[in-house]
């Protein structure tokens, strides 16, 4: 797995992790918060409705207190004087106060007067549920000792009835109570609509005990507690219902108030969440992409490029090549370091060529001039001492002389192989001729040589050496690799350029092959030598076609000492 994919993987993981963490924290913080807010607002609305109902109760209580603590009312329970009703409790008054029911009840449970709104005089009967309750001892009736009014709901066949019962007292507030005054208000659909238009929520009162209550009811009933008779349930995506438990006059659960409201908060929260999610994912995505692109452009691509260049230089062996250095940062420093190393390597390589050549020259000279001369001396000595000796001694001296000859020959060849002395003494052309002869005799490869401008021309020693070594190395390659027995060498001196071409029509090689084995060392050696003297080398080889090596060296002819000899003509004339 390469660096690029690794980084891509890490960034992807980070991206997924980031999105996960952010969404979990959003879910665990924002969502409960919105739930709570929604619940609170729903409860508040239920409480508002309850407040309205409480107002109803208070207004009824005030109205009843107005009548119950009056001497006239106190007396009416005994006198049943129609005048009193006419004067105080006419239809118009009751309608004005929105009182649907009014009754005077004696302490014994006798109904003294009943008024039901909207009913004819003959139909003035209490609703059955209320009539059942009116008997001595029921809490709905005020006893003689009671001085306070009481109120509460009472389910009736007409609908939920808000009942207030007050003891009939004297105007001074003294007892004992002469009876009970009951007034009631029916919370029928008209009344509920009125309340609904005040609080601006659709609402309904449902009986607590139903044969088949809806599921939500059952759920609401289960969540009611004594301390908290209010609960909220999200009915759907768009609707939230608040429930409140209403007790009856006697404190038993009687009705469930149902307040329906929209879920604008929920919708807003959904919107906010969606926005946050989108923003977060987009942000994380943008961050990831930017990070990856930046890493890729600033680091990875350049590391790849650097690696490619280093590989190319390593494979091609061209130590004069350099890696690209175009910015100023850590990577560039690596590039600079590599270039520095290449430079050192190049210098080392040059130095190696120089040292090798110098050593060869030294050893060749030592072999030739010192050891060779000593051997020659030895041979002459042997020869000169041979005369006037016995036959036997002469024979061994002849043998010794032959051995000395052999030694001289070997030392001479060794010396010339290392470095032909004619290269220094006579110049490139004689050295090349000598090398071709020796090469052909050793390898059987014929050399077709042609030249122009070389006869009697000397160049700078390093140029002559380089040219000689190039031809030598190229021919060695021909003998080793090309499988032909013919090669052509051309050396031309034209306009200050010494061009050397060595061609064979042999096997050739492809660029890949060139990079392996002994041929590489040969080719690199040539490149090194050529680079050292500021020349150029072109290696052109195609498998099956052959190989052509073209080397061009800057070379000015060196001035020659005066040849001034008459013998010139006799010799060159041949």
């Amino acid at each position: 797995m390469n660096l690029r994919w690794t980084i891509l993987g890490v960034i992807l993981l980070t991206f997924v992790g980031l999105v996960l963490i952010l969404s979990v924290s959003l879910q665990s913080i924002l969502v409960p918060h919105f739930r709570e807010e929604e619940d609170r607002s729903a409860r508040l609305n239920v409480q508002r409705v309850l407040g309205v109902l409480e107002n109803e109760r208070i207004s009824l209580t005030e109205a009843i207190n107005n009548w119950a603590s009056r001497d006239e009312s106190y007396d009416y329970i005994r006198t049943s004087d129609p005048e009193y009703i006419q004067r105080n409790l006419s239809d118009s008054v009751l309608i004005g106060l929105n009182i649907d029911l009014l009754a005077f009840v004696s302490p014994q449970g006798g109904i003294v007067y009943v008024h039901l709104a909207g009913e004819t005089d003959s139909q003035q009967d209490l609703p059955a549920e209320l009539a059942l309750r009116i008997q001595p001892g029921d809490e709905i009736l005020r006893g003689a000792a009671d001085s306070e009014s009481r109120s509460g709901f009472l389910p009736t066949e007409l609908g939920p009835l808000l009942v207030v019962s007050a003891p009939l007292l004297k105007t001074s507030g003294e007892g004992p109570a002469a009876g009970t005054l009951l007034i009631g208000r029916l919370l029928d659909s008209d009344e509920l609509n009125r309340i609904s238009s005040v609080v601006r929520f659709p609402l309904a009162l449902q009986p607590y005990d139903q044969p088949n209550p809806p599921a939500e009811f059952t759920q609401a009933i289960q969540t009611f507690t004594a301390e908290d008779p209010i609960t909220t349930i999200a009915s759907s995506e768009t609707q939230m219902t608040g429930y409140a438990l209403l007790t009856d006059f006697y404190g038993s659960p009687a009705y469930i108030l149902q307040v329906e409201q929209g879920r604008s908060l929920f919708r807003n929260s959904q919107l906010v969440l969606l926005y946050l999610y989108t923003a977060m994912v987009m942000g994380a995505l943008l961050f990831s992409v930017m990070t990856f692109l930046a890493l890729d452009r600033l680091v990875l691509a350049r590391v790849r490029k650097l690696g490619k260049e280093v590989t190319e230089i390593g494979a091609g062996g061209d130590l004069s090549a350099r890696v690209t250095v175009d910015r100023r940062d850590e990577l560039t420093r690596v590039g600079v370091q590599i270039n520095g190393m290449l430079e050192n390597l190049q210098a080392l390589s040059h130095r190696l060529v120089e040292i090798q050549e110098g050593e060869r020259r030294r050893i060749a000279l030592e072999l030739h001039d010192e050891i060779g001369q000593l051997l020659t001396g030895l041979k002459l000595q042997l020869d000169s001492t041979r005369e006037h000796r016995s036959e036997l001694t002469q024979q061994s001296l002849v043998k010794a002389s032959a051995l000395a000859d052999e030694l001289i020959q070997r030392v001479r060849n060794l010396s010339l192989d290392l470095r032909p002395t004619m290269l220094d003494d006579l110049g490139l052309l004689p050295a090349l001729f000598w090398h071709f002869d020796r090469f052909t005799s050793l390898t059987g490869v014929e050399v077709n040589f042609s030249q122009n401008g070389l006869a009697d021309t000397r160049f700078a020693p390093e140029i002559e050496t380089t040219a000689y070594r190039i031809v030598q190395e190229a021919l060695t390659n021909v003998a080793r690799h090309s499988t032909v027995n013919e090669a052509s060498v051309q050396v031309l001196h034209l306009d200050g350029v010494l061009s050397i071409q060595v061609e064979d029509r042999g096997a050739g090689f492809s660029a890949d092959q060139a990079l392996t084995g002994s041929r590489t060392r040969g080719l690199r050696g040539m490149q090194e030598r050529v680079a050292l003297v500021g020349g150029s080398i072109t290696i052109d080889s195609v498998p099956g076609w052959g190989t052509s090596i073209l080397v061009e060296l800057p070379a000015q002819a060196q001035p020659q000492p005066d040849q001034g000899s008459e013998n010139d003509h006799s010799i060159t004339g041949g």
Partner: protein
């Protein structure tokens, strides 16, 4: 009596030569030198009939000494180099003989005799014929510029003359365009071509392109 001067920087060689020459009744060693300049001075002063000079000596080499003294003394070059190039170089400088150091004593004595008589002497591997052949070899190496073109350059010259560009030539010969450029530059220089017109003219002259289509 033939007067002889010996110049060789190697004591052993000089000693060997001397003992050889001294053993000959008609030879007389008049001087010895171990260094080039000393040898030059001695020859000019003593004017020996034959100067036996080592080819390579410190101070001044045998060839240079020969160039300066060949008029006053017959020079016999003593050399380790069995190579025609050295022989020719020595003869051009004015030497009368060239003897290899591994020659037999008899050959050396014969060489001194021949040279003293004013004739040329070359050591046994060399002959006048070999020398002529070598000179011929050097001469035939020199070429008509067109002859100096390599096979590759000729192919490229032909294709360029036919109007193909480097990229096409590279594709055709399966080599890189850079290599084609190198060959083109080389052939332009060899043939002294400066324009496409020069090239076409030459191609027509050499029969690479028909005159009329």
């Amino acid at each position: 009596m033939i007067t002889v001067l010996l110049a060789d920087d190697h004591h052993v060689v000089r000693q060997g030569l001397r003992s050889l020459i001294d053993s000959q009744p008609d030879f007389q060693v008049v001087g010895e030198a171990s260094e080039g300049r000393e040898a030059l001075e001695l020859i000019l002063e003593l004017k020996p009939m034959v100067s036996v000079l080592d080819l390579m000596m410190p101070g001044m080499n045998g060839l240079e000494i020969t160039r300066q003294v060949w008029r006053v003394s017959q020079v016999l070059i003593l050399s380790m180099h069995a190579n025609e190039a050295y022989v020719i170089e020595a003869l051009r400088k004015g030497a009368s003989g060239y003897v290899l150091k591994d020659a037999t004593a008899n050959e050396l004595i014969q060489a001194i005799h021949v040279v003293a008589a004013g004739q040329r002497y070359l050591s046994s591997p060399f002959s006048e014929r070999a020398i002529s052949a070598y000179i011929q070899r050097v001469k035939t190496g020199s070429l008509d510029p067109y002859e100096t073109l390599t096979t590759r350059e000729r192919e490229i010259l032909q294709l360029v003359a036919e109007g193909r560009n480097s990229a096409e030539i590279a594709a055709r010969l399966s080599i890189s365009p850079r290599t084609v450029e190198a060959h083109r530059a080389s052939l332009n220089r060899k043939l002294d071509l400066h324009s496409q017109a020069d090239l076409i003219r030459l191609a027509v002259k050499k029969g690479l392109l028909p005159l009329e289509k």
